[in-house]
């Protein structure tokens, strides 16, 4: 509808004319639209829709590795095997802890950063760059750096802790601590990125609302809580959505630092899928786990985007 309208009106510059001409023109414009879309559609089909279809098909089949035997249809058996796998359940639980532990602190930090540097001064520009810097470092590089920061005994973290007379734990080698080290790294990495959205969001908070609240005698805390935060609701919903997507789609640091260990303590869903596909050659199980993760991801995104729409409607 929108594409149609834009092309008809703007590109072809249709004057008001008899219905038949419009219809013919309209058909022509559709053809043009599709022709323009074709390259991206082909790309999408080849690299998105076909693989999605393939994963859905794989999830319903089993291909025995090595032991001879052809691919056969097994219905939902792969899903039962995945859900019955202790390693999958641990990866799912880890992912949940990782998501809750990371998204909350990084969003709160992002908001605080944004509030601190929202005014455009030269000093703030420098601070913004510093805060944003971790986002510029690729996750793989960041993880490689943190390998040396986390080194037990000789690492940067333990070096400074020792100066305070504290001896740190084995940051990524202790089953109880490792996942939280990964959480810490991710918060450090992502908070600055989310801050950008909040800085943009803050520009759109109506000034007169804040001024009105100030005139009514609201203090800074009250202005934040009753005026600024509600106005930022769409931003928050958006930031939480992309943050949650990050939680399921980025495991570079796990691959570099722990390979999911020790004893699967830092295994996340995406890395579990990788292991099933490429270490255990169980394509069926990997595909089923993928379908489950993507379904969860879709539900989460849908939920947050709903929240965002509701928020913006209330705003309007």
């Amino acid at each position: 509808m929108t594409v149609d309208a834009i092309i008809t009106a703007d590109v072809l510059d249709v004057p008001s004319s008899p219905v038949r001409t419009v219809r013919r023109r309209r058909f022509a414009s559709w053809r043009l639209a599709y022709m323009l879309l074709l390259p991206s559609l082909l790309g999408l089909a080849a690299f998105t829709y076909l693989p999605v279809l393939r994963v859905a098909i794989d999830a319903l089949h089993v291909t025995p590795h090595g032991a001879g035997g052809a691919t056969r249809f097994v219905g939902l058996e792969n899903f039962a095997r995945v859900l019955g796998d202790a390693a999958f359940r641990q990866a799912a639980l880890n992912n949940l802890i990782y998501a809750v532990g990371t998204v909350g602190p990084s969003v709160v930090l992002a908001l605080l950063f944004a509030l601190a540097v929202r005014r455009s001064t030269r000093f703030n520009a420098v601070v913004r760059t510093i805060l944003f810097f971790p986002s510029l470092v690729p996750l793989v590089a960041a993880a490689s750096l943190f390998f040396f920061i986390f080194l037990p005994g000789v690492g940067l973290l333990d070096y400074y802790l020792a100066k305070l007379g504290v001896s740190g734990p084995n940051w990524i080698g202790d089953t109880d601590v490792a996942l939280w080290s990964i959480v810490g790294l991710t918060v450090w990495k992502n908070a600055g990125y989310y801050m950008l959205f909040y800085i943009a969001g803050l520009q759109n908070v109506p000034r007169d609302h804040i001024e009105a609240a100030t005139v009514d005698g609201a203090n800074a805390m009250q202005r934040l809580w009753y005026v600024i935060l509600p106005a930022l609701r769409p931003t928050t919903a958006f930031v939480i959505t992309i943050a949650l997507i990050h939680m399921l789609t980025a495991v570079d640091h796990v691959v570099v630092l722990t390979k999911g260990g020790p004893s699967n303590a830092t295994n996340l869903l995406l890395f579990y899928i990788f292991q099933e596909a490429h270490e255990n050659f169980d394509t069926g199980k990997a595909a089923a786990a993928t379908v489950i993760s993507v379904a969860v991801l879709l539900l989460v995104s849908l939920g947050s985007l709903r929240g965002m729409e509701a928020g913006s409607r209330r705003e309007a």
Binding site: P64, H65, G66, A67, G68, G69, F147, F148, L151, P152, G153, V154, S167, P169, N170, I172, G173, D174, T175, D176, T258, K259, G260, G261, P262, S263, N264, Q275, H278, E279, N280, F281
Partner: protein, 439 residues
């Protein structure tokens, strides 16, 4: 009709021209190689391939750097699945069984037959410990290229400080624990310096556990059948208990998992006095260790024994006859005495051919680097490398449990039992298809 005949003739002529031009043209093949140690090795390998290409006109080899061992396997298998298999791949030596079972690689027997030789004759020049990982079901599938074993590295200065003789490093587990206790420096509850450290990350840990269980008289896995591992056995339990005691009873090793990079850094920084690492790290340690160090055999409890590690050259199925012949020629050249010797001196890995050590360059090198001699001597006690159906997953079954032991979450007794149960589950499909498939 006439037209068709003429077309046919034309096609025939075109085909003739095409085949003759193919006959004259070079055979182009791809060679995938991993580099377990970054940087310089990739450049040296590229230099070798260029040397091969310049030495003859029939074959043009394109060397493709494919990352780590695991990534190389992934990429080679993905390329094969897509119908464009690499001709030759330098593959982690214990993946040969898995690749053969998956039907991905060629038996090299026909090439040997064409040369009028046999497997026994061909392997005669290779160290005996390497034969098992090169053959699957009594057929040759891989040609060993570079190999390693675990090795004990000791800080000579720390030894003298603790009143120990660096010329006499620990030979048995008793001596190891004893030395580690003397070498550990404490400040109240806090440990300033650990007497012993070993990598606990995936892959490395399984390899070292196999070294310890072998030193304890064990075998870790069945060399002639891919469906059996020996985790819940006295020899493995002893090895697991040793690790547990080093951490929690003798308190000479840090708890939790430390990756290989952390262990070598601790050794360089003087925070660990003895470390268990690969002979493949020899050049790296030689270049980076600032204080005097020494190397020794992996200490024994029952016997001296270590597993080999390293990589072999394999050839992929699905390539043309011409490409196969070219690939084999390249394999023969890469695994010649001179090339293997040069690569060994460059990297610190063993040369798999015994004859490489008879050359003048090698004799000279060994005289200048006595630590390389210790590593070489240990080769006499080397055993095959752990390789089964689902090698990685079966290995991980033990590693997850051992990491729990190193974190104090589980006792060694329980850990080896749980590891065995998990491994048996993973091996089940293969067992059902083989040993338990009865008439």
């Amino acid at each position: 009709m006439h037209v068709i005949r003429r077309l046919g003739a034309g096609a025939l002529a075109a085909a003739l021209v095409l085949t003759s031009s193919v006959a004259w043209a070079q055979t182009r093949i791809e060679f995938f190689f991993p580099v377990p140690v970054e940087g310089k090795l990739a450049r040296e390998m590229t230099r070798l391939v260029k040397q091969f290409n310049d030495s003859q006109k029939d074959i043009e080899v394109t060397a493709v750097y494919t990352g780590s061992y695991d990534e190389t396997k992934l990429k080679a298998q993905a390329a094969a699945k897509a119908g464009k298999p690499p001709s030759v791949v330098l593959m982690s030596a214990n993946f040969t069984v898995d690749l053969k079972l998956a039907g991905d690689i060629l038996s090299l027997e026909p090439f040997l037959a064409a040369e009028g030789t046999t497997r026994e004759k061909f392997l005669g020049d290779f160290w005996p410990a390497l034969h098992a990982n090169a053959t699957v079901d009594s057929e040759l599938y891989g040609v060993p290229f570079h190999n390693s074993t675990p090795l004990l590295y000791i800080n000579a200065t720390h030894f003298k400080e603790a009143g120990l003789d660096p010329a006499k490093p620990p030979r048995t587990w008793v001596e190891l624990v004893d030395a580690a206790k003397k070498l550990t420096k404490r400040d109240g509850e806090k440990v300033e310096r650990h007497g012993f450290m070993m990598p606990g990350g995936y892959d490395y840990l399984g390899w070292l556990m196999s070294a310890l269980s072998m030193s304890n008289g064990g075998r870790y896995f069945n060399e002639s059948y891919g469906g059996e591992v020996y985790y819940d056995t006295p020899s493995m339990l002893g090895a697991a208990k040793l690790v547990e005691d080093l951490v929690y009873k003798h308190k000479v090793m840090p708890s939790g998992v430390i990756e290989a990079g952390g262990v070598s850094t601790a050794f360089f920084a003087g925070k660990a006095s003895m470390v268990l690492l690969s002979t493949g790290s020899l050049s790296f340690i030689r270049e980076n260790m600032k204080t005097p160090y020494d190397v020794a055999f992996v200490p024994r409890n029952v016997r001296n024994a270590v597993p080999i590690g390293g990589a072999s050259l394999v050839m992929f199925k699905g390539q043309s006859e011409a490409s196969q012949q070219a690939g084999w020629k390249f394999v023969r050249w890469l695994s010649s005495t001179d090339v293997l010797g040069g690569w060994s001196r460059f990297t610190g890995y063993f040369a798999p051919r015994k004859s490489a050590y008879d050359t003048a360059e090698m004799k000279d090198f060994i005289t200048r680097n006595p630590d390389a001699k210790v590593a070489l001597d240990q080769l006499a006690y080397a055993q095959p490398w752990f390789a089964t159906y689902q090698t990685v997953a079966v290995r991980k079954a033990l590693e997850d449990e051992m990491q729990a032991v190193m974190n104090g979450k589980k006792k060694a007794e329980q850990a080896v039992k749980d590891a065995q149960r998990k491994a048996d589950e993973l091996l089940r499909p293969y067992i059902d298809q083989t040993a338990l498939k009865l008439p």
